[in-house]
Symmetry: C2
Subunit: 176 residues, 2 copies
């Protein structure tokens, strides 16, 4: 049975929650990376993703300027790197070097791919939409890549306070 509670307390029941990295090209030729948890598919054909990115984020400024970016699914061994880029500001800092993230050139955009991600989606900016207190970035996917390791799994936020880990399904049947 359900018991009434306040909204923030109910929301704490959401974990594990998916997390993605968003890579953008910086004016100096380098790249910036941030972590985003408010992410969902927003269209199937063409494939689009929605990202919730703070007004104050350097990534938001770079997306508005460049009109393109990369969305990556970090792998489950990247918790330390994701924590680094997810908790530090990108202005005046090289988050790629600081985090140890490895990048490689993308196919159709100037932002880099995350070399160790499970998959990368190259996006062009389709729209910015603001239903509440946060701009929602809509990215149309124009190219994709995946890790050569087919069994590499995604990283998740598994508890409040930036606790991140891989997850495994509880296998109930033989068909999984």
């Amino acid at each position: 049975m359900q018991k009434k509670t306040n909204i923030p307390k109910a929301l704490k029941r959401k974990y594990p929650e998916q997390i993605v990295l968003v890579a953008t090209k910086k004016p100096d030729g380098g790249a910036n990376v941030m972590a985003v948890g408010w992410v969902a598919i927003a269209s199937e054909d063409p494939l689009m993703f929605m990202l919730g990115i703070d007004d104050g984020a350097y990534t938001y400024e770079l997306i508005k300027k460049n009109k393109e970016f990369v969305i990556a699914f970090p792998n489950e061994n990247m918790a330390r790197e994701v924590l680094f880029v997810g908790t530090k500001h990108g202005r005046g800092r090289d988050k790629i070097a600081g985090s140890g993230l490895r990048v490689q050139p993308a196919d159709k955009v100037k932002a880099p791919l995350l070399a160790d991600a499970v998959a990368n989606f190259e996006c062009k900016l389709a729209d910015i939409y603001r239903p509440g207190d946060c701009p929602l970035i809509i990215g149309q996917v124009i190219a994709a890549s995946e890790n050569a390791k087919a069994d590499l799994k995604r990283l998740y936020t598994v508890a409040a306070g930036y606790k991140m880990a891989g997850v495994r399904p509880l296998l109930a049947g033989k068909d999984l």
Copy 2:
């Protein structure tokens, strides 16, 4: 390293993916429930969720009519019920009775709560937005409830083909 691939193939690397139930009141006094995987937080204050719901879904028709609905996090033992409501149409069918889902009255909306969910979020319709091929429903949360069992966990889609299960984090540190 990344290897270029086609977009649908890269997208298959997304699992596990979160899934929610969406409950709406039907004109006959009963309720309808569907499963939605395209879901994310869209605003913190006020709390809003975004849901991608097909144009043809009965739920979409009922949300437009009622301007309110409930979003529930199904618990990890509800795979069978979620599969039922996620793969059958609601017109001319009582999906609550057919699935065995238990409901209870909500506080501020006429749609019901899912009694066995991990948490329920009562929403009023804030906006409908269509960046691509799917309407995105923005719901502003006006009340919340949670399961009295504090350790009950969410259900996830863990593989293509509607494979659903609970998940557990891989514990690397002692602080999780």
